[in-house]
């Protein structure tokens, strides 16, 4: 039954036309080639037709934003494509950095009036259960 549910989930995920995902779930912060920084590589996939832009954020356990560097904080991810990016955090901020998230950026000219904003967060160095 559990396998069936998993298959249904994966099949529906694959056929979805309005999805937002961020992987890996538990990225590892590794020493960077820049002294004093650690980095992590992420990948996001956009299957939301109504969204072209996403914002990257790094947060504490209480969802307070902490400083980080990446090529573009607002990324353009056209429908049906994925985007790989690397973020850099100062060594001294590493203990506080818990979540890395991508958040959909909504357009103000949308036709619908009850709009869904999506946010997916991965956890740094999370414990596998």
């Amino acid at each position: 039954m559990r396998t069936l549910a998993l298959m249904v989930g994966l099949i529906t995920a694959a056929s979805s036309v309005a999805a937002h995902e961020l992987t890996p779930t538990y990225p590892k912060l590794m020493p960077s080639y820049v002294d004093g920084l650690v980095s992590a590589k992420m990948r996001m996939f956009n299957a939301r037709q109504d969204i072209d832009y996403y914002e990257i954020g790094v947060f504490t356990k209480d969802m307070v934003a902490i400083p980080f560097a990446t090529t573009n904080q607002i990324i353009k991810v056209p429908h049906g494509t994925s985007y790989e990016f690397e973020i850099f955090i100062r060594n001294r901020d590493r203990p506080a950095a818990v979540y890395i998230c991508t958040m959909s950026k909504l357009r103000s000219d949308k036709a619908q009036n009850a709009i869904i904003s999506s946010k997916v967060c991965s956890k740094f160095d999370g414990e596998l259960q």
Binding site: L106, K119, K123
Partner: protein
Amino acid sequence: MRITTIAALALIIPVAAMAETTIEGNIASKCIINTDTQGVYGNPTPDKLSTATTDGGVLPIIRYDVAIADYYTAKITTPTSFSTSPTLSDTVAWSGSTSVSNTSDASMSGYETNKVTYEATTEFDLTVAGTVWFEVSSTAEYGYSKAFPGGTYRAIVQAECIAN
């Protein structure tokens, strides 16, 4: 003798090829947020905007797919302000709720009873692998039975999937 050798080879070759073919798979944990239905506010009375179908609205439906159990928490926040509206001179009273509308696995039946609600946010612990659909209702009432000014109104439902 020659025909026998060829026949023997023909039988052996596909078997050898099949023996060397391997397929590997890997399932990684991930959460996918799907916006199955974008909502629409109905305007049943001049002072009210509501996504309820009885009020002429459309309930937003959000689908969460998780590949492995216990890795994520779903958080859905109903609107508490308009992102777009005409200038409003009076207060707006917001109400909303989020509930499980469908699941891919019977063992997800506990999601609804175990949900945690605070302010406008509802949390669901995604303890079972598979797919769950949430429907979100939202209502805005203006002043004391005051008519909303004409114009465009938009509000945002925030769907989050947070790694545990």
